[in-house]
Amino acid sequence: MASAFELTRNMTIGQYIPTDSAVHRFDPRFKLVAFGVLVLAIAFCNTYVGNLFALAFCLALFPLIRIPVGYGVSGIKPAVPFIIIIALLQFFFSGSIAPGGTLHFEYGVIRITGDSIRLVIVSAMRFVEVIFLSSVLTFSTSTTDLTRGMECLLSPLEKVKFPVHAFALVLTIAIRFVPTFAMEMEKLMKAQASRGAEFGSGEWWRIIRRTKDMFPLIIPLFNLALTRAEDLILAMESRGYVPGEERSVYTRYRSKGADWGLLGISLALAAVILWLP
């Protein structure tokens, strides 16, 4: 039986699962670039065939990183409401009409055209594909590797005085504390529920009451976050961290032939996705 309080345990997206597959061992910089290439290709692909191909390919990635397909697919669950809302909006209001397109229905601002139907289906597919791709990336790459890879990729920007290291650090800390705060939140929800609190039980239109119901969670959570931030500052400074100082790194990435292969494959796939009719 599922519990109402399990915030952290049911999120599949963003979770690193060390199954030590071939994909896990790729250089994170290359994984990021390959990810970017594929996401771009998906973003520009507006054909059914192309998207079907991309979807099939994304699904095929799960066995490749040794994650059960069902578990990977369950990652779209939290996104389903968004997909539906976006699809509805596009369906009724996009109203764009290509030369020679068909107009099915028109009433005031509501226009349903052949193009908007296509747009709805294609964008829902894109959404799902991007979620699958991101899941595969985060399943197979630890957050440290992700942010380090990001830092390496962005390092050319240092020439134009962009604070790459600080940016990567902010990203690392933010990602690092998401599960921590989710756990704190879970504990607070349980603690307040033990004192008789009920969350999300009031009628949805009584917005003020429902907001007030959240105070017993939000206030202690802020408190904890600020305390933690102060502790973190102290911990970092006591271990010699000076902002803006030149820092050496423990691990260096060296690209192997396989990594270039990954890049080549992703470019080829992107080309296929874009050129399919």
Binding site: M1, L188, K190, G196, A197, P216, I219, P220
Partner: protein
Amino acid sequence: MREPFLTIRNLSHTYMKGTPLEHVALREVSLEAGRGECLAIIGHTGSGKSTLIQHLNGLLLPQSGEVTVDGLHLSGPKPDVKALRRKVGLVFQNPEDQIFEKLVGDDVAYGPFKMGYPLQEVRERVRWAMELVGISFDEYKDRPTFALSGGQKRKVALAGVLALKPDLLVLDEPTAGLDPYSRNELLNRIRELNRKEKMTVLFVTHNMEEVATLADRVCVMAEGRVAAEGTPREIFGDTRLLAEHQLGPPEAVEILHALHRRGHPVNPGAYLTEEAAGEILSLIRERE
């Protein structure tokens, strides 16, 4: 035979069932506690203690097995979780984190208000709870919560749960991180709740001195199972068990065990400091 106050039967729980991150926390745990008893649960981190106590007020529902508190069953399709939470007060680790109101009195009153009691009743309950934990109602009810010391904050948080007047009080490491003075003070309050108010108390701890001074019965958990159960006398008297689960017994017990090993006629089951002192004293007298 009368049904015991709290019954747990064959309770199992698995986190993230059916995913690659599956983790079994409880395996077929069975446990009972009579009304008015004080039961300690000890065991290492990850032995399932926290998972177990979250079942007691329905924060987690049994995946298999049964939990019954004072005739209320926590299984079946629609358990009455709300009624259960009135009966069972659960105090989490570091409960001072959950304080959110500006004033002490308001924070203690949160639970009773949520339960829908009228103002006068809430006031009575807040007064009762605060006095029970040793915080003067008149003096402290209008003090800002952020200005309290760590020990006082914890007492206020405890009062916040007590204000619901639970029959069963469950505490997860109630004294962790407190200074020795606050620790003793809090333990005395818990003992009073148990002895004078006849509240059934169940507490999780890592501190064996606390077990020795407070508990009527001890339950040792390991790897999601109940590894041993008995009175403190039985548990602390069993050297093999203590070694197997790496439980550091109270110092008094260790001294007695050491004497026993060297062939001195002492009773290693005498776990209270006073008793142990008596044993040693009689040993010294004998030699003279």
